[in-house]
C-alpha cells in the first residue's frame, strides 16, 4: 500500500514540475531556466531516494519520531544546522548586510549565541529525560494529561507561526527567483515535504536537512572564495575595497539622507562598517536578543532533534557541531553580504526584492560571469535550488514537530490514555503529519500577500516566554509543578501574541494612506532646522508603551538645511518625460561614439526612473484603494500601543514569573515525589530511552 502512495506522490511532483517549467519571469532568465530545473531535479531525486530508503526502516514510533535514536552526533549537528538555517537566515541576513552593512552582521550574532543556552542547559537533560516531544519532558513530573495538552497547544502554535512565515516567504522567494506561480510553489513545497515526513519520518527529514546543510555550506564557501581571493584573503584589504566602492558610498548616502550632506566619500564608505544604519532602537534589539537566546532552546523542532541521538554525549557533540557550522556560516555571510553590496550594488538588490533577499543569488550570478553567461546562470540556478531545498527541509522539521504534538501528546497521551498499540501510534503519526501538511499548504495559500515577516520573531518570542520557562524550571527547580507550568505557558504565550498584535509589526491604515498620499501629492518644503540632542522618553515605561502623557524618545538630529518641496508623482513623471524628449531627439545628430554612448546611458537612466516612479504611483494608488475608509489596524488601533517590534522583554520575564508564582501557591505531590528521579536521571542518563539496533 505504501508503495502505491509513494508512486502517487512522485507522479504529482512530476506534474507540478512540468507545469512549473512553463513559468516565465523571475531572476533566472527564461533561456537558462532548464538549468535551475535540472539542479532542482537532481536534489529532489537524491532526497526521494533517501526517503525511499528511510521508509523501509521506519515502522515503529521510535523510528518515526526519533529515527530509532540512531543518528550520530556529527550527523545530528549537520541536521540541526539544516533545520536552523532557514531561508530567512540564509538569504535574509546576507541581504541585510548588503543593504545596511554592520547592523546586518550584528543581527546574525544572536542566532548563534542562542545555541549556548541549548548546549548548557537543554540538550543533554532533554535527551536523558525525553522521549518524542516537549510534552514528554514536562509530563515527567507534572500531571501528564494537563501538561501534554498545554505543551501540544504551545508546540502547534509556535510551529504554525514559523511554518506560515516559511511557506509565504518560500512561495514569494521561488516566484522572485524563477517565476513559478506562488500557489504552485506552495503546493510543490508542501507535497515534497509531506512525502519526506509521511513516508520517511524523522530519518528522511534528518537526511534531507543534512543534504541541504552540506549544499548550503558548500555553495557559500565557493562564493566567499571567489569574493575574497582577489584580496589575498586579507580582511583589511577586502573591507578597504568594500568601503571605497562607489555603489556602497551611494547606498550609505541614500540611507543617511540629509545628514550625509557634510560627509566625505571616505566617511560615507566607512559608515557602512559602523552601527546604526538599520537597528535604531537598542531596547528593541535587547528584546529580540532575549527572544533568540532563550527561544531557540524552546523551539519544538530543535528540541526534537535531541531525541534522535543515542546518548547525552552525542547530543552534546551535535550542538558543538551545529555551533561550528551555524557560526561559520554567519561569518561567511559577512563576505556574501558585503560582496553583494560592492559587486552587485545595493540599489540593484533592492530593486529585485526590497528586503534584500536576492543579495546571495545575484552575487552568485555575478561571480559566475554575469546575467548573460552560462556559468553565472548555473551559479544562480544552484543557489535557487539550494534555497528551495532549504524551505522544504525547514518546513519538514516543523511539520514533524507539530504532528508529534498532535499524535503523540494529544491523541496517544490524552485521548487514548497511553493505551494505543504501536501500529496505531505510527498510523496516528502519519495521519497527523498529513493533516498538518495540508493545513500548512492551505494557510500558505490563504496568507498570500500578507505581511508575515513578524511571525518568525513571534514564534521565537512565544517559544522563549512559554516553552523555555516551563522546560527549564521543570528540569532545574525542585518546587516547580503542574499549576506553575500551565499558568506560565498560557500567560507567556498569550502576552507575546497580544503584544505583537498591538506592536508596530501590524499594518496601520492611517500611516500607509498618509505615506501613499505623500507619494501622490508630494511634500511641502521644510525650513532649515538646528541640531537637536537626543531626547530620552519621559520614563522607561514610555519607551515601551504609548501611554497618555508619555513623551516618546527621539535620537539626536544634526542640523539640516532647508528642504525644497517634493513634487507629486504626476508632476515628477511629467518632468522626467520632458527630460527624455530632448535626449531622444538629440540621438540622430550624435556621431561621436562616446557622446552617443553617454546619451544612451542617460536615456536608459531616465527610463528606469520613469518605470520606478510609475511603480511607486501604482503602489500608492493601490494602498489608498485597499485601505479606503479604514482608520484602524485589526486590533482597532490607529497607531501602535506597544512600541517594540519584539515582545520578549516583557513576555519572557512574565512567563518565568507565572511558573514560579503558580508553583509556590499550590502543592503537587507527584511533582515533588518525582524530583529526585528526574534530577538523577537528567544528570546520569540512567533509564534513558535506548537506541533501537538495526
Amino acid at each position: 500500500m505504501n508503495k502505491n502512495y509513494f508512486s502517487f506522490f512522485l507522479a504529482s511532483i512530476a506534474t507540478l514540475g512540468c507545469s512549473a517549467a512553463y513559468a516565465a519571469g523571475g531572476a533566472v532568465a527564461d533561456e537558462f531556466k532548464w538549468m535551475t530545473f535540472a539542479v532542482f531535479g537532481v536534489i529532489i531525486a537524491i532526497t526521494m531516494a533517501v526517503t525511499f530508503w528511510a521508509a523501509r526502516t521506519t515502522h515503529t514510533t521510535s523510528e518515526f519520531y526519533a529515527a530509532g535514536r540512531s543518528v550520530s552526533g556529527i550527523q545530528n549537528g549537520w541536521a540541526i544546522a539544516g533545520d536552523y538555517l532557514s531561508a530567512a537566515s540564509f538569504l535574509g541576513i546576507a541581504g541585510l548586510i548588503s543593504l545596511y552593512g554592520y547592523d546586518g552582521f550584528m543581527y546574525s550574532v544572536g542566532w548563534l549565541v542562542a545555541y549556548i543556552t541549548v548546549l548548557l542547559v537543554i540538550a543533554e537533560p532533554c535527551r536523558n529525560i525525553g522521549k518524542y516531544t516537549m510534552g514528554d519532558i514536562l509530563a515527567f513530573r507534572n500531571d501528564p494529561k494537563k501538561t501534554k495538552v498545554v505543551a501540544a497547544l504551545s508546540t502547534i502554535t509556535v510551529s504554525t507561526f514559523y511554518l506560515t512565515a516559511q511557506m509565504v516567504g518560500g512561495g514569494v522567494l521561488i516566484k522572485t527567483l524563477i517565476g513559478i506561480d506562488y500557489e504552485i510553489s506552495v503546493i510543490g513545497v508542501g507535497i515534497l515535504m509531506l512525502a519526506y515526513v509521511v513516508f520517511g519520518g524523522m530519518k528522511a527529514t534528518t537526511w534531507v536537512q543534512i543534504i541541504k546543510a552540506v549544499l548550503l555550506v558548500t555553495a557559500s564557501i565557493i562564493l566567499v572564495f571567489l569574493v575574497w581571493s582577489p584580496y589575498g584573503f586579507s580582511l583589511p584589504a577586502y573591507l578597504q575595497a568594500v568601503v571605497g566602492d562607489e555603489k556602497v558610498v551611494a547606498q550609505v548616502a541614500k540611507l543617511l539622507g540629509d545628514s550625509a550632506a557634510g560627509m566625505s566619500k571616505e566617511e560615507l564608505g566607512q559608515r557602512f562598517l559602523e552601527p546604526g544604519l538599520f537597528l535604531k532602537n537598542p531596547i528593541d534589539q535587547i528584546s529580540l536578543g532575549m527572544a533568540l537566546v532563550l527561544g531557540t532552546a524552546g523551539m519544538p523542532h530543535i528540541l526534537m532533534r535531541f531525541f534522535t541521538v543515542p546518548t547525552a554525549q552525542a547530543a552534546r557533540t551535535s550542538v558543538i557541531w551545529a555551533m561550528g557550522i551555524i557560526g561559520g556560516f554567519y561569518v561567511l555571510t559577512l563576505f556574501l553580504g558585503t560582496g553583494a553590496a560592492m559587486l552587485v550594488g545595493s540599489a540593484k538588490i533592492a530593486s529585485v526584492d526590497a528586503g534584500g533577499n536576492m543579495a546571495g543569488p545575484l552575487l552568485a550570478q555575478f561571480l559566475g560571469g554575469g546575467e548573460n553567461s552560462m556559468l553565472g546562470n548555473f551559479f544562480l540556478a544552484f543557489v535557487a535550488a539550494v534555497a528551495f531545498a532549504t524551505i522544504v527541509a525547514v518546513v519538514a522539521g516543523l511539520v514533524l514537530a507539530a504532528a508529534s504534538a498532535m499524535a503523540h501528546d494529544i491523541y496517544v497521551g490524552v485521548i487514548r490514555g497511553d493505551h494505543a498499540t504501536p501500529k496505531e501510534q505510527v498510523m496516528a503519526a502519519r495521519v497527523a503529519s498529513g493533516i498538518v501538511g495540508v493545513i500548512a499548504i492551505t494557510v500558505g495559500i490563504l496568507a498570500k500577500g500578507q505581511n508575515v515577516a513578524h511571525l518568525v520573531a513571534l514564534a521565537f518570542a512565544v517559544a522563549a516566554s512559554s516553552n523555555l520557562p516551563a522546560v527549564f524550571l521543570t528540569l532545574y527547580w525542585k518546587k516547580c509543578n503542574t499549576t506553575g507550568i500551565i499558568a506560565g505557558m498560557i500567560v507567556g504565550s498569550l502576552t507575546a501574541i497580544v503584544l505583537v498584535l498591538v506592536s508596530p509589526n501590524m499594518t496601520y491604515p492611517k500611516a500607509v494612506v498618509s505615506a501613499a498620499k505623500k507619494v501622490l501629492d508630494g511634500e511641502p518644503a521644510v525650513p532649515a532646522k538646528e541640531a537637536q540632542p537626543a531626547k530620552p522618553a519621559s520614563s522607561f515605561t514610555c519607551e515601551l508603551f504609548a501611554l497618555d502623557g508619555c513623551v516618546a524618545s527621539a535620537p539626536a538630529k544634526p542640523a539640516s538645511v532647508e528642504k525644497p518641496a517634493k513634487p507629486g508623482v504626476v508632476e515628477k513623471l511629467a518632468g522626467l518625460n520632458a527630460k527624455l524628449q530632448p535626449l531622444e531627439a538629440s540621438l540622430p545628430a550624435l556621431t561621436d561614439p562616446a557622446a552617443l554612448k553617454a546619451a544612451q546611458d542617460d536615456i536608459a537612466k531616465v527610463k528606469k526612473d520613469i518605470v520606478a516612479t510609475e511603480k511607486a504611483k501604482a503602489k500608492a494608488e493601490d494602498d489608498i484603494k485597499k485601505f479606503e475608509g479604514q482608520t484602524a489596524s485589526i486590533m482597532g488601533l490607529e497607531k501602535p500601543w506597544f512600541l517594540l517590534k519584539n515582545p520578549g522583554l516583557i513576555s519572557i520575564p512574565l512567563g518565568f514569573l507565572m511558573v514560579i508564582l503558580g508553583s509556590l501557591f499550590t502543592r503537587d505531590k507527584r511533582a515533588e515525589d518525582m524530583w529526585d528521579e528526574l534530577y538523577v536521571r537528567q544528570n546520569t542518563g540512567i533509564n534513558a530511552e535506548a537506541a533501537t539496533a538495526h
Binding site: 548563534l112 548548557l120 559602523e274 537598542p282 561569518v331 529526585d676 538523577v680 544528570n683 542518563g685 533509564n687
Partner: protein
C-alpha cells in the same frame, strides 16, 4: 535494573551525586551568565558606545567589527571549554555513579 527498584532519593542524597551536582551547577551557571553578559555587550556597545565601536584599529577594520567577530570566537570557546570539562569530568563522575547503582552499592 528495572524502574521500580532504584532508590532515586538515595542516589540524590549520595555524596558522589551531590559533588557532581555542585560541580555542574557552578560551572554551567558561570558559563551561562558570562555568555549572556558578553552577548548583550554587543547591542549595548553599538548603541551607547558608538565612538569606541567606530575606532579604526586594523586598516578600515574597526572595534565594532572585531567585537562582533569576537562574539563568534567566544561562543565557540565556551562550547569547547564545556565539552572538554564534560567529557573529562562530568561523564566520568556520572559513569561512576551508574556503576555503583548497577552493582547495587548505591540503593
Amino acid at each position: 535494573m528495572s524502574k521500580s527498584n532504584i532508590n532515586w532519593m538515595a542516589i540524590d542524597a549520595h555524596p558522589k551525586f551531590q559533588a557532581l551536582h555542585r560541580k555542574k551547577t557552578f560551572f554551567l551557571w558561570g558559563l551561562m551568565v558570562f555568555s549572556i553578559i558578553y552577548y548583550f555587550m554587543l547591542p549595548i556597545g553599538a548603541a551607547y558606545y558608538q565612538d569606541l565601536f567606530k575606532t579604526k584599529v586594523w586598516g578600515v577594520v574597526n572595534v565594532g567589527i572585531l567585537f562582533a567577530l569576537s562574539e563568534f570566537v567566544v561562543a565557540w570557546t565556551i562550547a569547547f571549554v564545556y565539552s572538554k570539562k564534560a567529557n573529562a569530568e562530568f561523564d566520568v563522575s556520572a559513569q561512576e555513579i551508574i556503576n555503583e547503582v548497577k552493582s547495587g552499592r548505591m540503593q
